[in-house]
Amino acid sequence: MKHVPGAMFGATLGTAVGKAVGSREAPVAGALVVVLVVTSVVNPRFLSDQGRFDLMVAIAITGLMAIGQTFVLVMRHVDLSVGSVLGLSAFISASAVKGQPDGSLLTVLILGLAVGLAAGLVNGLLVAALGLPALVVTLGTLYVFQGVQALLTGGTRINADQLPTSVVRFGVSGGLGIPWLMWVCLAAALVGAVFLRTRRTGRDLYAVGSNPPAARLVGIPVVRRTLLAYAVSGAAAGLAGVLFLARFGGVDSNAGLGYELPVVAACVVGGVNILGGSGTVAGALLGAMLLKTMGVSLSALSVPEFWQQAINGLLLIIAITADRFVFLHRARIAREEAIRLRRAIRLAAERELEVSR
């Protein structure tokens, strides 16, 4: 018995296609296509060149953070501090090149990554080494990082005219019709996906999230893996800070405010199990695409903002309800199978007994 819904249907299409159709990501991709088609039929300007560009830029930032968040979620943890890390990284990296019209984009990128990495390691140390609950730790660091940023900015903001032209141009241009910001996100997704799928270390993350005590018993270095996951999430948020800077051509103390929950929502919609053990980077990115596209599409369809929020929430609930339903369905099949098996074994034993008599 295959464990993916739709697999029986998929099997007739050949294994590889069947797997893709039966996968958890497939319905998300399907919904994305439906939203794109419906909206562009109703409002042709939705997918104009500018519309496409703006949509992809918006996806890139949330998507990048969702990729990082996936590492943490599959370990049965969570990182709520990503919005604050984004703000902190954007501000610190911007400050370093402030007023240098020919400052280097590379410096900004490296600084942003470094700030994110440092913040991630703080989270990781508190969660992994001290064994504190991730929800509380990262809620705490959300406020702490925000406070640090406020302290550093002192309420000031950095504007586009104070930033190097390389940074500003990075946010508004692209290659092959795709914004540079989206390229960064796609590259991160590729690296993240390959790592989680093919590296032993990546597989360890799933094992820890699936059954933490068992992971310890088979000798997985749980503390180091947890540190790694938070470092990745932090680095992704740090990099997202640079993308933010480039996109908006500036930063103030509100940067990244409230970004954390849409990021977690994107992962969950994309099939990353909030209870750990399963989920993919591709799913998280698709989830981010779907949520962002829904938001933009509902605006394009002139749906009031209140309804946009409600619909996003509804989407989230539909996603976890579907997951739960599939889980219960699987559990029932497994239970029925076990009962059948037991009955068969008992019958076989009884038959044997009769023969021996």
Binding site: M1, H3, V194, R197, T198, R199, R200, R203, D204, Y206, A207, G209, S210, N211, P213, A214, A215, R216, L217, V218, G219, I220, N273, G276, G277, S278, R330, A331, I333, A334, R335, E337, A338, L341, R342, I345, R346, A348, A349
Partner: protein, 498 residues
């Protein structure tokens, strides 16, 4: 012949409690070695030392004549020791193949996991073990028997030379257990040393080559299976004299308080019938996993049952309705106090009055004074040692926590008190006080149904001993009939008493 593993006089203490005193174990390649002992004899601690979970405080462990490196689960595996726990610890979200190879997945030249090779290798191991499992299947929902096969495949994949199985057959049906025993024989014939922990003496005698018996953290005997008998083994396991620590007062049984008839829950327990009279303590003995707690949970209405009936004071008790049980004067003190019996951060007063609040309140408002006086009264009657009634119960010792749980339920004036392992993990002095209390309450006409894994407690306290094995009642013994040997033999499946 040099032994493969030589454990000499190891000791291990947790806090002040000595789990191991001087335990020794010698294993040779190509043997199946039974490790026996009552619950709490130290078997698990010894196995965990071999698994690298615990580090011993004293003594020596050699493997292949060289010192065994302790304290790391990974190093234990690398040294060829694989431990399969009673509750298999698989990763439900990962495929069976990955469960077998986690952390040691075959990799390609570029260092990425070679999924095809992993799947092939897992399939080969399953075939070698004679089972038809799909390596791509997720571990979620796998039967316990198949989970154990996966664990054994895991052990084989590390080329383990010492394979330890901790009560592997406890949760299996006869056919599944048979398959597992075949696998164990195959491993032995392949030159491994297999350690087999089991309470089923019939299994031990049909399967094992040698055996080692532990008691109270020490090794008391080691022998060739062929040179010994089940009753000798039971004597080694029990070994201690009964003391008069547990004074059960003589009482004349009154009316029937609880009558259970043909209680059945498919696959859990089968056709359980017994009675408990007023003033009587009935002990439910048996090994862990024999279905005792499940029977009690069904009686109290926590779990559903498929067949049979439960009567309290001559009237049927509705199934699956704990409130009805409470209303009819049945009180259940669960085994796991921390999880089920107490609200740890709340005060002694709060915990004691929790279930009687209805009687203490007027117009829906709880009277603080009455709440307090009930708690004070019981604290005194139970000789509770505390730093004030407002102290949170999490700061009390295990024994005193147990007293708070007991007072919480005794405050409801029950007719039938059901206690699951009332003295587990509490010190000897407090144990005696809990026993005195139970005995005293029985003397006042309370009917008591007590689950206990401690034989001296069962024999010292009970007017009647019911023994369960694999979901069935295998013996009903009166106080004078009940001996350590009889109870152990009924619990382990050896019917004859030599």
């Amino acid at each position: 012949m040099t032994p493969l593993v030589d454990v000499r006089d190891v000791a291990k203490a947790f806090g002040g409690v000595h789990a191991l005193r001087d335990a020794s174990l010698t294993l040779f390649a190509g043997e199946i070695h039974a490790l026996l002992g009552e619950n709490g004899a130290g078997k698990s601690t010894l196995l965990k030392a071999l698994a690298g979970v615990h580090r011993t405080d004293a003594g020596e462990i050699d493997i292949d004549g060289a010192p065994f490196e302790q304290g790391s689960t990974r190093r234990s595996l690398e040294q060829g020791v694989a431990v399969i726990y009673q509750e298999p610890s698989l990763f439900p979200d990962l495929s069976l193949a990955e469960n077998v190879f986690i952390g040691r997945q075959p990799v390609t030249g570029r260092g990425s996991v070679d999924w095809a090779a992993m799947r092939r290798n897992a399939k080969a191991l399953f075939t070698q073990l004679g089972v038809d499992l799909d390596p791509d299947r997720r571990a979620q929902g796998l039967s316990i028997a198949d989970q154990q096969i996966v664990e054994i495949a895991k052990a084989l994949s590390t080329s383990a030379r010492v394979i330890v199985m901790d009560e592997p057959t406890a949760a299996l049906s006869a056919a599944e257990a048979g398959r597992l025993l075949d696998v164990a024989r195959r491993l032995r014939d392949g030159g491994a040393a297999v350690v087999f922990v089991s309470h089923r003496l019939d299994e031990v005698f049909s399967l094992c080559d040698r055996l080692t018996v532990m008691r109270d953290g020490s090794t008391v005997a080691s022998a060739l299976v062929a040179d010994t008998t089940p009753s000798q083994v039971v004597r080694w396991m029990v070994g201690r004299e009964l003391t008069d620590l547990f004074p059960k007062l003589e009482t004349t049984p009154g009316d029937v308080v609880l009558r259970v008839e043909g209680l059945t829950s498919h696959g859990v327990f089968d056709d359980i019938s017994f009675e408990v009279h007023a003033g009587e303590i009935v002990a439910l003995a048996g090994l862990v996993g024999s279905g005792r707690s499940e029977v009690v949970r069904a009686i109290f209405g926590i779990d559903r049952y498929d067949d049979g009936r439960v009567e309290v004071l001559g009237k049927p008790l509705p199934p699956a309705d704990p409130r009805a049980a409470l209303a009819r004067g049945v009180a259940l003190v669960p085994e796991d106090r921390r999880q089920q019996g107490l609200f740890m951060p709340a005060s002694i007063v709060r915990n004691t009055s929790m279930v009687v609040l209805g009687g203490l309140s007027r117009f829906g408002i709880v009277g603080r004074g009455r709440e307090r006086s009930v708690a004070a009264e019981w604290a005194q009657r139970l000789r509770l040692r505390h730093g004030g009634l407002d102290e949170p119960v999490e700061r009390l010792s295990g024994g005193n926590q147990q007293k708070v749980v007991l007072s919480k339920w005794l405050a409801t004036n029950p007719r039938l008190l059901v206690v699951d392992e009332p003295t587990r993990g509490i010190d000897v002095a407090t144990k005696a006080e809990v026993h005195r209390l139970l005995s005293e309450q029985a003397g006042k006409g309370l009917a008591v149904l007590m689950i206990s894994s401690e034989l001296p407690e069962v024999l010292g306290m009970a007017d009647c001993v019911l023994v369960m094995r694999e979901g069935r009642l295998t013996a009903t013994l009166t106080r004078s009939e009940a001996t350590q040997e009889r109870v152990m033999l009924a619990a382990t499946g050896q019917v004859s008493v030599a």
